[in-house]
Symmetry: none
Subunit: 225 residues, 4 copies
DNA sequence: AATGAATGAGGATTCATTCAT
DNA sequence: AATGAATGAATCCTCATTCAT
């Protein structure tokens, strides 16, 4: 029967790669998927091509992924996991940060996450049409928002924040949306200090942290008289 | 031959639909494309299906569009044009608006544009994997940014703005990114006053306009009467 | 979606071949299916092979048959139709036949139907694993049984028949089963007078028509003293 | 490689399962084959599935069966063997049976054999497309025919039989064909006394044994006391 | 200009079979 | 002997595109 996938879970791997060998195979397949996507784009991304490039047979691919979609999802999942891991560090760094330091940390984190694996992340955002992928990235943001909320609560006195949870959400969403947007349409911005400065200003302004007028450009400077 | 288009121009209509009949046909095809995309999704969006639903033959479709991609692009183009038209009105309304009024206008415009044709816009964002489409939407933003730049220049005295063009760009990008993001992941936000309020706060803060009510502890704000 | 056939009827042709051209194509495909099945057997019966041998593209095949199964069913249907047509003639010939003539007619009909297209019929019986096919052949038998029932009723006085309908059914089923069996395991029997004679004896005996003892072999002879 | 078996003997087990363990394994595989065929049909009948359900590895399956076909054949063989065993008893019972008893015995035997394992037997008949299988069942019939021939010869005086061997063959073939047919198309008949009565009438008529009760108008029958 | 039947390369997926461990 | 991961040829079916009418 060609028509219906009879695999078990329909999304997710077909069998838990407990053995080392299997793990390596799954890894190779996901990485090859990324590579092919980057090198030759969406239309070159066929299961046969992936398998061949990964140095295995199609049969092996289907031993570990019930169908093509599952493989794609695994790629996205992996990307999301890496982002989450990096954001966990940000959360830790945030704990003892002053307001000024915190803002810098957050802005920098947003940029870093986008910069890292930027081309792949971009390809995934642009080329993969699937819904499920987007939800995974949402989860990543939720993680960061939680860490940020905590930080905002701790600095309630110094900041113009009424609802920390909402504010955190808006901040994360904004930064995510802005960096994603930059990644898609103005990749060069991700490397531009000017862009970082503007993000800084946006966050500062939103949080009610004003630097002296006419001195906006000194991001991190001690206020001049 | 599937992958390689041997048609002439590769993007844009194959012939200018000068006759009324042709124009109507092109319209019907684009609208049908939208309808099919909305009703049955990306997978159902085949040229044969579109032609049939539009009441014409595939041959006719290919008389006016060199290939499928061109048809998709035409749909996106039409959407972008409608947005631009609406933003032109915003630009006009902006001319004589005070700072406070302007901010409201801009925020509202961003939301309105996303809300209008939200399902179709969403479908296009989520389902169409093509690169070209995104660039079209960029053009729309550029239009708004220009109008906004002018407005910022005129109100230079009242605002904490050094580089109006850059500020306009960041504002437009932010709002666009935020509303797109909301459209994709939290459609309900587009209808929520809370979301509008936060966008408002973001813009105000970024422009250095403090709203007194909320300024529990305005670090450096000069409260205005 | 590759998995589910989205064709309309799932069994039967995808579109009514109203045009002459289409009819010819459908015919060619069915005949080619038969030819391939006969020449190279079940495993050679792939859609691509059939299309190629029929001198058309696979695409065309799928224009007229929603899937492989439908094509196979069409072949069986055609065979069943031809049998039915031939049996209609038998029904007519039966009307005015005497008891003795009728028995000869029926036995001969059973053999004729099996002999005609015997190899194809055999291939279909042996090789096509599908259920639906079998039901079609059942319909054919029902037709013959009806004609036979009428005949039995008309000759009630001369025959040892209590329930004509049941008797007709048993007769038809027996003859069908016996000839099918012969077709499958002893094809040579279909051409053997001996076999015909035995069928004759079976039917005669079942109907209570006894020929003089020790003279059983004279099938059609006028009884000798 | 799918189509071409490169195994040694092509039919029959690869090695004689001399050890108990091996015997058990072969048994398990055949039984599992039957179970899968019954539960999930022809399509689910893959070697991997069979092995898994039987609790062994595919490798082990191929240790004892050179290819899939051999396994299927073994299943059919087992079924045929069981039938043969049962028919041996019939042959014994026949020895001392009177004409009337013998007819009852034979008819009943035909029905019994079909009824036993009816679902599996049916599945094998309907679903297994292989040629070889059918020949096995032929062997079974030959066995019964031999026993029947002997019986006919012994009762030559009481019966209107010229060629016992041929008559036996026709009888066995008829009964087999009729019960198989019933199994496939009217399974309920196998349990119906009416059907048994008709088979009885068929055999009696064929053998020239008239039942007085029904002989409303026996054309030429010599009524026996 | 319009039609829509025809095309056919290409894609996802299966499964009998092998062979290194 | 047993395992089961790996193989890959082969299958069914799709759909963008063409072109004879």
């Amino acid at each position: 029967m060609r028509k219906t996938a009879r695999g078990s879970s329909r999304s997710g791997t077909r069998k838990q790669p407990s053995q080392t060998r299997s793990k390596a195979l799954v890894d190779a397949l996901i990485q090859t998927t990324a590579r092919v996507l980057l090198r030759d784009g969406w239309q070159a991304l066929t299961t046969n091509r992936i398998a061949r490039d990964a140095g295995v047979s199609v049969g092996s691919l289907y031993q570990y992924f019930p169908n093509k979609e599952a493989l794609l999802l695994a790629l996205v999942e992996r990307l999301a996991d890496e982002m989450t891991a990096r954001l966990m560090e940000v959360g830790a760094a945030l704990r003892d940060a002053s307001v000024a330091e915190g803002i810098v940390t957050i802005v920098r984190a947003a940029l870093d996450v986008s910069r890292r694996d930027a081309p792949l992340y971009r390809a995934v955002l642009v080329e993969l049409p699937r819904q499920g992928a987007l939800e995974l990235f949402e989860r990543v943001n939720r993680r960061l928002a939680d860490a940020l909320t905590e930080w905002l609560v701790d600095r309630r006195d110094e900041l113009d924040v009424v609802d920390p949870s909402l504010t955190a959400h808006v901040l994360v969403t904004s930064l995510d949306a802005l960096t994603d947007h930059a990644l898609l349409f103005h990749p060069e911005l991700l490397e531009s200090p000017r862009f970082e400065r503007e993000l800084h200003a946006l966050v500062s302004g939103y949080l009610g942290v004003r630097r002296p007028a006419r001195a906006r450009r000194s991001v991190n400077g001690r206020s001049r008289p």
